[in-house]
Subunit: 198 residues, 2 copies
Amino acid sequence: MAHPKIDFWYSIGSTYTYLTVMRLDGVVKSEGVTFNWCPFNVRHVMVEQNNVPFMNKPIKEAYMWRDVERRSQSYGLSPIIPAPYPAPKMVLANQIAMVASKEGWCELYTKATYKRWFEHGEAPGDKQNLDNSLLAAGQDKDRVIELATSQEIISRLEQATQHAIDLGVFGSPSFVIDGEVFWGDDRLTDAIGWVKQT
Amino acid sequence: MAHPKIDFWYSIGSTYTYLTVMRLDGVVKSEGVTFNWCPFNVRHVMVEQNNVPFMNKPIKEAYMWRDVERRSQSYGLSPIIPAPYPAPKMVLANQIAMVASKEGWCELYTKATYKRWFEHGEAPGDKQNLDNSLLAAGQDKDRVIELATSQEIISRLEQATQHAIDLGVFGSPSFVIDGEVFWGDDRLTDAIGWVKQT
């Protein structure tokens, strides 16, 4: 029997997504569940739905960093908190993820860009992050950036984002199983329970 | 040795707080942790911090109800979803909780009002809910409402709310242990882990 599969919708630029991206390998091994990595542009959804999470909310943002820090510790991760935020070039980072998705190195790039962002202080889409994460993914930077900024990839990211909206996804990370949406790194356990019972 | 104690900050009117209120007894028994029940007016904090959760966010609100429904099932609860929302008389409901806190029947009233709200469709602070929840708490309704709307209790709720803000609390439910804030029913496990290690 094939492993149960969960669609993992995410946007590079989301802070809580760091927690998921960095622990998903371990979850695959321990739970026998696999994931489709599906990049989309959560910022577009948030602006459209009047739901930008930390803008003008300093108390909630401070809490988010402390929460991410505590949860990181519980997962054995060691980020430098706070990481640069927000990430002005997140759209480019997600366009690169769309190229990566098409070519089969999406997971590798996403993990590398989050590692550089949270563990080395390089915002996604920024030059240093691109240099290092594309090197880690074994890719030629110039080739990838040219593709990532092409109309084809811009359209693909827009289509993926519309698909996410149609599914009811409004935040990152989200886990989707046959139309059932689980939002947040803290709902990964619920999603795994769901896919195993269906 | 005394049981470790967690300050449980909550506002009647918050939907996710239903999950905590209805399962806290079981947690006390299974974990050997106790809770101070601390009502406050989260609506005031949310308006002040530009952080009202579901206003003009229908997709997120629909998700919240589905999430509360799924989590209720996992806790063995059977709410009628969606419950009436928002609750226009939530401030009165929290003023009553302040009276109850002063007189020692806070937990009893809070559980009763949530049960009426989520399992019988009676919004907190509404006549039917007051009739039934104050009866369940063994209280005389007229006496309690007169006290609840007195200047003393209004001031006590304001002071409690300011205290919550000073602690860094911005949502309900929150769990506070020596200045460490855990927000959300889904952080109760983290809070218990924290209080046990300190």
